[in-house]
Amino acid sequence: MLGRGMLKGLWVTLQHTISSFTSGPRRFPKRYLDGPVPRPEPSTQGMLTLQYPFEKYEMWPRFRGVLVHLRDPETGQSRCTACMACVRACPHGVLTVTGEGKGRERRAKTYTYELGRCIFCRLCVESCRFDAIEMGQEYEFVSTTQDQTLNLEEMLALGDRSGIKHTGEAWGQVE
């Protein structure tokens, strides 16, 4: 009956109202957690709101955040050799790279990454043969201007912050 369905609906919302006070990953008195919050099970009952600016989920390893440069543990610099593979792979021309030096000594002089157009498709990372770039864990980027470009230093700093290690595979194939 129509009436029965409506009363049932009222019962459901009442249950949710009560359970939002009594159960859930974060109970009522404890409001904020320190450090990254583990993602709750999908079946979790009760209040599960993440109070974002004060609590953050830990991102899963394959999360595609902004593109970062990884620092070579030996030289402390980026491994990018300005081979332009990522530039060619990018569907939208987000990356601009200039290089300097010849042969083995060739390194990226500038590496700009236009964030506002990037669709996080990871094609650049797939194409990189030197394991120089990786999708990071950062997603908190806003700006008040339309062009948001990151340069090499910023991307290196982001890579440091994200704590991603080299896989080492691609680097080994260079020789």
Binding site: M1, L2, G3, R4, G5, M6, G9, L10, V12, T13, L14, H16, T17, S19, S20, F21, G24, G46, M47, L48, T49, Q51
Partner: protein, 386 residues
């Protein structure tokens, strides 16, 4: 207890005595009247501050969210943030608008709601004007709200707000009738139109004596306040936002305040008519009034949190084909019961039995008719088949 119960009255008498020393009699009446007016304004506006917060919190909790919790502890002062922001917003008058009426309409919205408070007994002896036509006054004033809506929508010069006005008028005219019938049942039993008399007549709250009338009154007043599930004139998905579509800034704030004050009025009148008003053990009368009113208000918000919006034909069907006949039958049966058995305990018990019996009979009839019906809509509505 008795002291606490009569505390506001004692204060008022003391004030009256104090004024009587320096002022002539009419001056005292004038000052006391002004104090009453201010008190009514406070009683009508103060809940708005609480209700804006409460509605958002109740909605949020029903959906496992926190709701506003950054403005002050538990988001308690969010209403002040709303108020300051909305006061400092730009005030837009559309070019197609009828300027005089457009400016005038928001003022009209609040008046009926505030006027109703004059006949609501908020405690033992605490009523601004104990009219001998009290409850009829409340119903009549409630029907005035539609004038403000008409003025606001027409003057906006917007086709969507005009559509919302048509819906609103259809709704108000349809729900006036079941509302009047349910109020009539109460008047019949209590033997008077005065709100104080109605409250005093409720040894057992009328909600337990005549549940049909109580539920009808509650639903009809929801429709009259344009609250969910009867908030057709808002209809965000079809007609943008209803009667206040073109209003911004302070003028919109008047609609906003009016809406929440109206919710409080629903609570206050339902309490007065069916829940025994200020009557109750231990606590003073005004506390009981407040507790019962807030309970009804919570139910209003709870319904908002749960039920989907009804369609316009369902809305009118519900009123004309179910509520009106049901309440007509209820009125007659209750009149018969109380004529035969008196208004004592026996009469109340019999009335309850008759009410429940009527409800069961109508329910069975509806279900049987729907079972034999071939209309898909009827089956879906009554039997819940999809």
């Amino acid at each position: 207890m008795g002291f606490l119960d009569a505390l506001p009255l004692t204060v008022m008498d003391w004030l009256r005595g104090l004024l009587g020393q320096g002022l002539p009699a009419w001056g005292v009446e004038l000052v006391v009247g002004l104090i009453k007016v201010v008190l009514i304004l406070v009683v009508a506006i103060l809940p708005v501050i609480v209700l804006t917060w409460l509605e958002r919190k109740v909605l949020a909790r029903g959906q496992d969210r926190f709701g506003p919790n950054l403005a002050g502890p538990y988001g308690l002062v969010v209403a002040f943030a709303d108020a300051i922001k909305i006061l400092t917003k730009e005030d837009i008058i559309p070019q197609a608008a009828d300027r005089q009426v457009f400016r005038f309409a928001p003022a009209l919205v609040l008046i009926p709601t505030l006027l109703v408070f004059t006949v609501v007994p908020m405690g033992r002896g605490m009523i601004a004007a104990d009219l001998n036509v009290g409850i009829l006054f409340a119903v009549a004033i409630g029907s005035l709200a539609v004038i403000a809506i008409i003025a606001a929508t027409w003057s906006s010069g917007n086709k969507y707000s005009l559509l919302s006005m048509f819906r609103s008028v259809a709704q108000l005219v349809s729900y006036e009738l079941p509302m009047a019938f349910s109020v009539l049942t109460v008047v019949l039993v209590s033997g008077g139109l005065s709100t104080v008399r109605i409250v005093e007549a409720q040894v057992i709250p009328f909600a337990l004596v005549m549940p049909i009338a109580a539920v009808t009154y509650f639903l009809a007043s929801l429709a009259e306040a344009n609250r969910s599930p009867f908030d057709l004139l808002l209809g965000e998905s079809e007609i943008v936002a209803g009667h206040n579509l073109e209003y911004s800034g302070m003028r919109f704030a008047m609609f906003y305040i009016g809406e929440y004050a109206h919710i409080f009025v629903i609570g206050a009148l339902t309490t007065t008519l069916f829940l025994g008003g200020y009557q109750g053990p231990i606590l003073p009368g005004y506390m009981w009034f407040l507790i019962k009113t807030m309970a009804v208000v919570y139910v209003v918000l709870w319904i908002r949190c749960t039920w989907p919006r009804m369609r316009i034909d369902q809305l009118l069907d519900f009123s004309w084909k179910l509520l009106v006949p049901l309440n007509l039958a209820n009125l007659m049966l209750v009149a018969l019961v109380f004529k035969l058995a008196g208004t004592g305990l026996l009469g109340s018990l019999l009335s309850l039995v008759v009410n429940v019996g009527l409800l069961v009979a109508v329910g069975t009839f509806l279900v049987r008719r729907a079972r034999s019906s071939t209309s898909r809509r009827t089956r879906a509505l009554v039997l819940g088949e999809v």
